[in-house]
Every structure is written in structure tokens, then in C-alpha cells.
């Protein structure tokens, strides 16, 4: 993988395209994520978050299933918005992207250990994790970035 990437860099020289290719191979592993002052300032991947994808991750029961706990007026076409967490209307105004990233990665780092919001890109999880999920995160780094991009649009 490394080899292919560096070949690509050489082949494409210093173009912007090459830079983003290099960076996307460079994905931050969950244990390497740095949280400072509640913020994760560096994106977890090189590819920018995709708002449409983020929307899907938010609603999809097999992915973020954020709607299980949060109402979101932007998705009024979807039935059944949960009430366990606060409404996310205006979340993009209340929080800067770097903090939204932390909330999604590991909500405990922003709220408290008591929060019921799962950590979506964290290995700090509960006991007796299902065997096939040990060492795995709920979402991928890219899905987190997509979500952050989407949440930032909720003004």
C-alpha cells in the first residue's frame, strides 16, 4: 500500500490530487486520536467529509443510528426521532467541527463518563463485547468525517 502511494506521488508530482491521495492512506487509528481541550483538530482521514454520506450514516440503523437518540428537524421525512439525547437542531452552530469530531469519536471526553452516548470511534467500550466486534469501532474514520461534515450543516 505504502509503495503504491509513493509511486503515485512521484508519478503525479506536486499536484493537489497527489497530496490528498497520500493523506487518505494516512488514517488515524482509534488509539492514536489526540484530544486536546475537547477538540480533535486533525481530521481522521485525508479525504474531506461528505455531507450526503454523513446524512446516511446519521439515519442508518446499522451505522450511526443517531436518530435513535436525537431528533433532527433536517430529517423530518424520517419517522421516529428519539429523545434520549438533545435535539441536534443547531448543533453546527453550538459546536465547532473539531469538537463535533470529539463528540462522535468518544462523547465521554466532552460530556462525562456517565454519558449514555456511545463512542463511535473509540476502543473505550463496555464489557463482554460481542466476539466479532472486539477491537473494532462502530464507525470508520471516514464515516466520522462524513458525520462531522453533515453535523456542521445543522445551523
Amino acid at each position: 500500500m505504502r509503495k503504491i502511494v509513493s509511486t503515485a506521488v512521484i508519478a503525479l508530482g506536486m499536484t493537489g490530487l497527489a497530496v490528498s491521495t497520500v493523506a487518505s492512506a494516512d488514517m488515524t487509528a482509534p488509539q492514536d486520536v489526540k484530544i486536546e481541550n475537547l477538540a480533535i483538530s486533525a481530521p481522521l482521514t485525508g479525504a474531506p467529509g461528505n455531507v450526503e454520506e454523513g446524512k446516511n450514516v446519521f439515519a442508518n440503523r446499522k451505522l450511526g443510528n443517531c436518530l435513535a437518540c436525537h431528533a433532527n428537524s433536517d430529517m423530518s421525512d424520517q419517522l421516529f426521532h428519539g429523545e434520549v439525547g438533545p435535539s441536534l437542531d443547531g448543533a453546527g452552530t453550538r459546536w465547532k467541527p473539531e469538537v463535533l469530531r470529539t463528540i462522535v469519536v468518544n462523547a465521554k471526553a466532552v460530556f462525562s463518563d456517565e454519558t449514555v452516548m456511545p463512542g463511535f470511534y473509540s476502543l473505550d467500550v463496555g464489557e463482554d463485547v460481542r466476539k466479532d466486534l472486539i477491537g473494532k469501532t462502530i464507525l470508520t474514520a471516514q464515516q466520522v468525517e462524513d458525520l462531522v461534515a453533515y453535523l456542521s450543516t445543522l445551523k
Binding site: N37, L38, A39, R61, N65, L67, A68, C69, L79, F80, H81, G82, E83, V84, P86, S87, R94, W95, K96, V99, V110, V116, P118, G119, D124, V125, G126, E127, D128, V129, R130, K131, L133, K136, I138
Partner: protein
């Protein structure tokens, strides 16, 4: 940093102002005759001020099904249970009725005081395990496997003989207190990739919707319950396992020490509520 602080304050304000879909304020009266206790003061040491039956959190149509014996689809299971009660099985040529005669007399009130201490095994015993003990020791029949054969209908039939009786567990007997402690640990243990405990949903958030589901206190007084979603009677340990599985965790075996302890503890939490078996849930 400043920005986040402000957001946290704003969030706090939003949360205190948030509306909770309250459990309905109505009475459950079966067939217009038997008034059920669906709200009761909680036991000493209980974290919630009042215990409330899951019935209050269901939709109007689901609540109506439970209030009418003829409409309650769980009653079919009770009829099956009655048949099994009277059916001879095993090498001793006996049925439950051979020893216990009419369940309406011999089983009255019993379903309300299980699980209880079982001296012989040195553990708590529930109705399902008591049935198995009778089958093996007194009937010369095989123990039912979990949720198989007559286990659910017969358990429901026996519990139904206590319909309306307030649930009460005796923690004084044997080591029941230690099992209660262990069950409490289970209740607050955060499990799985989603990192949730029973308390995350049923203590902190009862009364709220989690997607389409209106979260109740997770009381156990209606089990086995009839679940419309599955179109069948659902046993308590099946429900426990389902809730644990939903946190994306490995779940303990039915009737394992962990789940027996959880049964002792959750039964205590719902103490004072009427036995509703077969309750109707969605």
C-alpha cells in the same frame, strides 16, 4: 474552548427544558373487574420514586388488548398451559395436576413470590426451573430446554394464577441478598460496543423514546409477556438476552447464575406491581 463551554451551558438548559413523553395516566382493569396495581411506591433503597408497569408506556390499542381477556392473544398460551398442567408425562405416570390438583387453588399467589431461595441447590429458583425440577424429580420426565416444549405456556399458566397479586421477593431467605447484590452489579454494568447498561435505558431514560420504542422501567411483572412483534409469548430470560444483545455484547446463557441474579434484582425493582401475566407488549 470558550466556544465549547458556551455550548455545554446551552446544552444543559436544553436538556432541563426537554419534554418527556410521560407514561399514560390510566388504570388497568382486567375485564372491568380486576383492578391491577400498575403504579406503586418503590422499595427502600430503590433509585426511582415510583415503580410503573410497562403497560403505561404502550399504545392505546396495545393497552386495550391486555385489559380484555378475550382480546389478549397471550390467553391462548394460558389455555395451552392448562392443557399441559393436566397432561400425564414421564415414567411416573403423573401430570402436574396429579400432585397439585387445581392450579387455581394450589398455585394462587405463588407466581408473585418467585424467584425464591431454593435450599437444595443453594441458589434462587424461578418458575421455569421449578417446573423442570418437578418434571425430573417427580414425573420422571425430561427437563424442558430453554423456551422449548411447554416451558413458556406452563410458566405463563402458573403465573397467571397470581394475576393481580403484588410481586414480592423474600431477600431474607438463604443467600438471596448476595444474589440481589450480584444482580445489581449486572444491572449497572455497561456492556458491549454501545457501552450501555440496563440503567442507561430503563433508569435514566424511561419515559423517553429511543427511536420508535417508548422506554419503560423494564419491569418484569408481566412475564412471560405476549409480544405483538413476535406474535408469541416471550420469556423473561429471552428478553434479558435481547436487551443485552442490543448493546452488541455477548449475552449469558438462560438460567445462568448471571441471569438468575438479574431476575432476583429486577423482580425486586418492580416489587409492589401486580402480576400481569400474560402482559401484552409491542
Amino acid at each position: 474552548m470558550n466556544y465549547s463551554r458556551i455550548a455545554i451551558i446551552a446544552l444543559g438548559a436544553a436538556m432541563t427544558a426537554s419534554l418527556v413523553a410521560a407514561p399514560v395516566d390510566e388504570k388497568l382493569v382486567i375485564d372491568g373487574e380486576l383492578e391491577m396495581t400498575t403504579r406503586a411506591p418503590s422499595s427502600d433503597g430503590h433509585p426511582l420514586p415510583e415503580v410503573i408497569s410497562g403497560w403505561h408506556y404502550r399504545t392505546e390499542s396495545t393497552r386495550a388488548l391486555e385489559a380484555d381477556t378475550f382480546e389478549n392473544p397471550g390467553m391462548l398460551g394460558i389455555e395451552q398451559g392448562e392443557e399441559i398442567w393436566n397432561t400425564v408425562e414421564g415414567s411416573e405416570g403423573k401430570s402436574c395436576a396429579s400432585c397439585h390438583q387445581d392450579a387455581a387453588d394450589s398455585m394462587a399467589g405463588l407466581g408473585a413470590i418467585y424467584p425464591k431461595w431454593h435450599e437444595a441447590s443453594g441458589k434462587p429458583i424461578n418458575i421455569e426451573l421449578q417446573i423442570n425440577a418437578c418434571r425430573v424429580n417427580n414425573m420422571g420426565a425430561e427437563a424442558y430446554k430453554f423456551d422449548k416444549s411447554g416451558q413458556k405456556p406452563l410458566t405463563a399458566y402458573i403465573k397467571h394464577q397470581s394475576l393481580g397479586e403484588p410481586v414480592k421477593v423474600n431477600l431474607e431467605e438463604g443467600d438471596m441478598q448476595a444474589w440481589w447484590e450480584r444482580g445489581k452489579e449486572m444491572y449497572y454494568k455497561r456492556t458491549g460496543q454501545l457501552n450501555l447498561s440496563c440503567a442507561s435505558c430503563h433508569e435514566k431514560n424511561n419515559g423517553k423514546y429511543i427511536r420508535a420504542d417508548h422506554l419503560s422501567q423494564g419491569n418484569v411483572n408481566g412475564f412471560p409477556t405476549y409480544r405483538l412483534k413476535q406474535g408469541n409469548l416471550i420469556s423473561l430470560h429471552n428478553r434479558f438476552r435481547g436487551c443485552i444483545r442490543d448493546t452488541r455484547a455477548e449475552y449469558p446463557a438462560a438460567f445462568s447464575d448471571d441471569l438468575m441474579a438479574l431476575e432476583v434484582y429486577t423482580t425486586w425493582r418492580g416489587q409492589g406491581l401486580s402480576v400481569e401475566t400474560p402482559a401484552v407488549r409491542q
